[in-house]
């Protein structure tokens, strides 16, 4: 089905052919999805979080299912930045969609180093900075819960890397606005809102937490109300263009984010359950636009604020 509507959008300087991206950690490095459809069908691909050194990841079990949700503690299993450049980048250069590399660190220096290495390499369209990792020096709380650290990390990455920089915020804060502003001050081009919420599940037979690490990050439909509200708040405060994500399973979910003011959306858990989900969602958005007599995606972005109540 082809709907004759405009789907182009942008996250600040990053132009996207369509608004649906795959979320980091749920699309590998793109190879597996390429078996299902052409990656150019996606607005973009945000690849698995990369760290400075290769990582084996956490002990298993790494996932637990909760009501309409998924908790994961994969532990950033990845080939490290050098492995990524060597093994994955060549393939990613051949895909015809925007590629963002998600970077994760456990110290400020990690982020600096990752940005510096990516700056030396052609073939990616930008960096997504994952500030949800625990700050080892800071007692294990995520960097992203501290506006000052978010500023510092963004600033470091910005100085090393000329291209598109998007900071991915953690929802686990009392007030997202100061954190979002810090990212803006640090020079981010856009914000990804948001990462997972900390969560736990306990096995009542073995009487210990299901996840080997005790707790993990909650994603999926369960968190959508939380992350959607954060998107709405940030957009209301007009800070930076937002990629909205968290629990998007259907076009209707994505449309809620667009109405809240997200300029593009990310699909994570849904891609795990159905690799076609991003494509289904894209065409569902087009259908909604058509059925409601909109010619272009841009017409609906932020509409919920027009008549929306005060938060």
């Amino acid at each position: 089905m082809v709907y004759n509507v405009g789907l182009k959008t942008s996250l600040g300087p990053l132009k996207l052919e369509s608004p649906v991206m795959t979320a980091s950690g749920t699309c590998g490095f793109g190879r597996e999805l390429a078996d299902f459809y052409e990656l150019k069908e996606l607005g973009g691909l945000i690849v698995k979080g990369i760290t400075v050194d290769p990582r084996d990841g956490n002990p298993t079990p790494r996932i637990a299912e909760t009501a309409a949700g998924l908790i994961n503690s994969i532990g950033l299993e990845n080939p490290g930045i050098d492995g990524f450049i060597k093994e994955e980048l060549p393939f990613l250069k051949t895909v015809n969609t925007k590629v963002l590399v998600n970077i994760s660190g456990h110290s400020l220096n990690d982020f600096k180093k990752l940005a510096a290495v990516l700056a030396e390499n052609e073939g990616i369209d930008g960096i997504e900075v994952n500030v949800s990792c625990p700050n080892i020096k800071g007692g294990g709380l995520a960097f992203g819960t501290d506006p000052e650290l978010v500023f510092k990390i963004t600033d470091l990455v910005r100085k090393e890397y000329n291209g598109f920089v998007m900071v991915k915020l953690t929802p686990n804060v009392r007030d997202i606005i100061p954190v979002a502003k810090s990212a803006a001050e640090g020079g981010a081009d856009a914000l990804a809102v948001a990462n997972t919420l900390p969560g736990m599940k306990i096995d009542i037979e073995s009487r210990i937490p299901v996840l080997a690490t005790g707790s993990g990050g909650l994603s999926g439909p369960a968190i959508k109300p939380v992350t959607l509200r954060l998107v709405y708040e940030i957009v209301k405060n007009d800070i930076l263009p937002v990629l909205g994500l968290g629990g998007i399973m259907t076009a209707d979910d994505a449309i809620e984010y667009l109405l809240a003011g997200a300029r593009a959306v990310g699909v994570g858990t849904a891609t795990l359950i159905d690799p076609y989900a991003p494509i289904r969602i894209k065409s569902g958005i087009a259908k909604y636009l058509k059925n409601n007599s909109f010619d272009h995606l841009q017409e609906i972005i932020g509409l919920a604020h027009k008549k929306g109540a005060n938060l």
């Binding site: 999805l33 298993t60 998924l70 994969i74 399973m249 858990t269 795990l272």
Partner: protein
Amino acid sequence: MAKVLSNKSLADNIYFLKVSFKETINVKPGQFFNLKVCRDESYDPLLRRPLSVFDFDLDNNEVSFIYEIKGRGTRALSNYIKGDFLDIHGPLGNGFTVDFNNKKLILAGGGMGIAPLYFLAKYIGVNNDLTLCLGAANKGVLKPLVDYFANIVVELKLSTDDGSFGSQGTISCLLNNSSLGKEVEYDYLFGCGPKPMLEWLQSWMREEGISGEFSLEERMACGNGLCLSCSCKTTDGNKRLCKEGPVLPADEVIINGL
């Protein structure tokens, strides 16, 4: 989409499910399918449930599974009835090595780990000499599974934890004791079952100098190699059980390595 042809209880909490696909599919023993168990309007239970192929009928595109009700997902699955449609991914994973000829092969299955061995036995039993060692908690679980093996001519060695069917003990007894006969030289072993059993098998195989492969289980979020929830440590680095597995060389697997 697959159509449910039958979904019936074989024993307490153990079900047999048969589905038919419209499209032509080709399935290897040891592969698995990933079944969506929630209804269309629901996101709960959220994830698919992986089940090994118990049997496959190439002519009719029919796949059978045997599953145990463990939690909410398998319970939801047990409520599907004939005529319902199930959203199923698969076949997924690599499957067992099947190009054996005139070999003496051991198939060792514990608990629901017996499920994938039936199609394997049917598939490779024609050209090879099979010994099946099957163990489970008790007769209630083991008997209905074993009944299926009755129509393929293979040697069956059975054990139950409580001795209610076959010998008493775990699979280790079947392989250890005289019944296996030291004089026979086995060429290869296929193992599927709980981790302690595979751990035992691995060291036994090393002692006996038998090579083989294990079908392994891990919690899976995607089944398509996207999420790394199913990583298994091996001597050759981490492998994704849904993609490079679920069958891995017995020798390479580092059980409880992660």
